[in-house]
């Protein structure tokens, strides 16, 4: 298989080394910046950020957290990163929890991950406080950012205390961390009813981040709105960027993502297909509102022909369209879900390169990515340096330093997912002669959305099955018709004949809609059921009484 040259980059074996390394190497360079609600830019240098990590780490040591599990539940913010870095670099395990889960799931996650402390944003603070009241293990609930009541511990108070410990010289001796030690537990959407807690080691996460840098050349200013509680956000958009020493702009709120991107004027952005489609829609909406749709279409066609003949000079009007829609952006790295080729092609014609990658939480996550100079739009790219891939019965299997150490406290699940040293991704794919990977389908029952979020239907089916009227249900991703691979969640319900006697199908549907609306209320939009079908016949089942999904 063809070998592609790699960019030089540092490799770290553990997070304590990473913090020291980036402080020494990049010192006063700007590290992380963000915008407040009032559009004010705030930021810290590498030296300042590492100093804050050090202070927070001192407090965590005093609290006896090294070796323990520290959960983080919050939208992206600078303090999120501080807690993560302080925890993992003092030998604790960071448990990263998705804020968009229902209260019940958040509590289950805190419980099953054995968290002893949790840092929560104000939106999730009360949920965590309620969980702590009932849990014997969860002792500390602290606020990530914002103002807190005097009796609630917070990152800002811990930072003051940590600085005091540093000044007083009573800092404790740093822990020795081995590269194989678990640094983080991250939850994945699984095919089982509950998300699976994936254990990722220091070496797995940091090697994967450096490998990403070795493959992709990014600009000096990088923008990310990817959630840090997912590995794509943390490894690719934070760790890889800080190892490289770039100026990282972070955003934690979908509502301000477009505004912050404009303010940050980045060269590179890491994102999911949803945002690229939104930019694409805005471009065409603006063209339509100005009555210039046909003109833009013609210009893009003309530009495509020019490209074919090797003329790369950018048309001035297209350059204007790009400036208005994407500002200074030149490179977009896209992952989390499949991205349609047409939109990427259009972005290329506007002068913005889109590189698609492929990853999975259990692989820290990155497995393949397209290269700046070797980019095949319909492929998810070539393999990372410390990673191997093979195809077995069409399924993609991965082996390498980036593979998880296992699912936390679930040896059976781990054994199911592994085939020796190889991790079974559940994705179906093929590799071409140049070493580019193509994803062609899925073996698992996951519904994948444009924002990169995944939903395992079983999780929702379990909830819907609790409705008395429902005998059986299958949840699936139905084509929404907006674009070919756009999906919305639908439920096909077989009502219990014993409970629906005398009811018209309209009444059944109305009752189901009411009950499902209630379930929807506790779910983020992408997990809400948008469509209900009623079946008159039972589902076909296997001998084990499992519904045959493909026949449903």
């Amino acid at each position: 298989m063809k070998k592609y040259p790699l960019y030089p980059i540092d490799y770290y074996m553990d997070f304590a080394g990473f913090i020291e390394g980036i402080r020494e190497k990049f010192g006063d360079k700007p590290a992380v910046s963000w915008f407040t609600r009032k559009q004010e830019e705030k930021g810290v240098s590498y030296r300042e950020m590492c100093g804050h990590v050090e202070a927070l780490r001192e407090v965590m040591r005093e609290m006896g957290l090294p070796g323990r599990h520290v959960a983080i539940i919050g939208e992206n913010c600078y303090e999120w990163l501080l807690v993560y870095f302080a925890a993992v670099s003092c030998g604790a395990v960071a448990v990263c929890i998705d804020t968009e889960q229902s209260e019940e799931t958040i509590r289950q996650m805190l419980d099953m991950s054995d968290a002893e402390a949790v840092f929560a944003s104000s939106a999730c603070l009360e949920i965590c406080q309620r969980a702590a009241e009932e849990s014997g293990r969860l002792k500390t609930v602290a606020l990530l950012n914002g103002k807190s009541a005097p009796d609630v511990p917070s990152v800002s108070r811990f930072l003051e205390k940590g600085e005091e410990i540093k000044r007083s010289g009573r800092s404790e001796k740093p822990e020795t961390i081995s590269p194989e030690q678990t640094a983080a537990i991250v939850f994945t959407s699984g095919t089982t009813s509950m998300s699976k807690p994936v254990m990722l080691s220091h070496e797995a996460l940091l090697t994967n981040a450096s490998d990403a840098d070795a493959c992709v050349l990014v600009g000096e200013r990088v923008f990310t709105g990817l959630p840090f509680y997912h590995t794509y956000g943390m490894t690719c958009s934070v760790l890889a960027m800080l190892i490289k020493g770039v100026h990282l702009y972070i955003n934690g709120n979908l509502r301000t993502v477009a505004r912050d991107m404009r303010l940050a004027r980045p060269h590179t952005m890491l994102t999911v297909p949803l945002l690229l489609e939104a930019i694409h829609n805005q471009i065409w909406l603006a063209a339509e509102q100005a009555g210039k749709t046909e003109g833009l279409r013609k210009l893009l066609r003309f530009q495509k022909i020019c490209r074919k003949f090797g003329i790369t000079k950018q048309n001035k009007i297209l350059a204007d369209v790009r400036e208005k829609s994407m500002g200074t952006l030149e490179l977009i790295i896209c992952g989390g879900a499949h991205m349609g080729k047409e939109i990427m092609e259009e972005f290329q014609l506007l002068g913005v390169t889109v590189l698609q990658g492929y990853g999975i939480t259990e692989c820290s996550p990155l497995v393949t990515v397209n290269r700046n100079c070797e980019n095949k739009l319909d492929s998810v790219g070539v393999l990372l340096p410390h990673c191997e891939v093979k195809i077995e019965d069409e399924e993609i299997l991965v082996r390498g330093k980036n593979i998880m150490s296992g699912y936390y406290r679930s040896p059976e699940l781990t054994a199911e997912a592994m085939s020796g040293e190889w991790f079974r991704t559940g994705d179906v794919g093929k590799i071409d002669k140049d070493g580019f990977l193509y994803i062609t389908g899925r073996k698992k029952n996951l519904v994948v959305f444009k924002n990169g979020k995944k939903v395992s239907p079983e999780k929702l089916e379990e909830k819907i099955k609790q409705i008395p009227l429902v005998k059986d249900v299958v949840v699936y991703g139905a084509a929404s018709g907006v674009s070919a691979d756009d999906v919305k969640l639908a439920a096909s319900v077989y009502p219990d004949p014993e409970r629906t006697g005398g009811m018209s199908s309209y009444e059944i549907l109305e009752e189901l809609q009411r009950e499902i609306n209630q379930i929807n209320d506790s779910m983020p939009f992408y997990q809400q059921i948008q469509m209900i079908n009623i079946r008159e016949q039972e589902f076909k089942k296997t001998a084990m009484q499992k519904i045959k999904r493909h026949l449903a």
Binding site: T99, E100, A123, N253, L254, R255, T256, V257, A258, R259, L274, L275, A278, N281, L285, E288, Q289, K450, N451, S480, V482, K488, N517, N520, D521, S522, M523, P524, F525, Y526, Q528, Q530, M531
Partner: protein, 80 residues
Amino acid sequence: MEDKILELIRKIIYRVTGKNTLTYDTDFVQDLGLNSLDIMNVVGAFEEYFDVEIPNRDVWQMRQVKDVIAYMEKKGITEV
């Protein structure tokens, strides 16, 4: 007041998504086909206009135009 809010929601949705058919019963996802980003952009425009903060967990429950109006009233916003 309700008509004024409806008009305002219509304007905001048109600016963000280009769609302008709206009644009290319009469902953002099912009828307008808005995705989570569209909805957050609409909510962001609301927050800016009324200078309020709307937590994500509250947003999940606003499926139809009338839910937004009810939410605003609950928050004490009755003037546009």
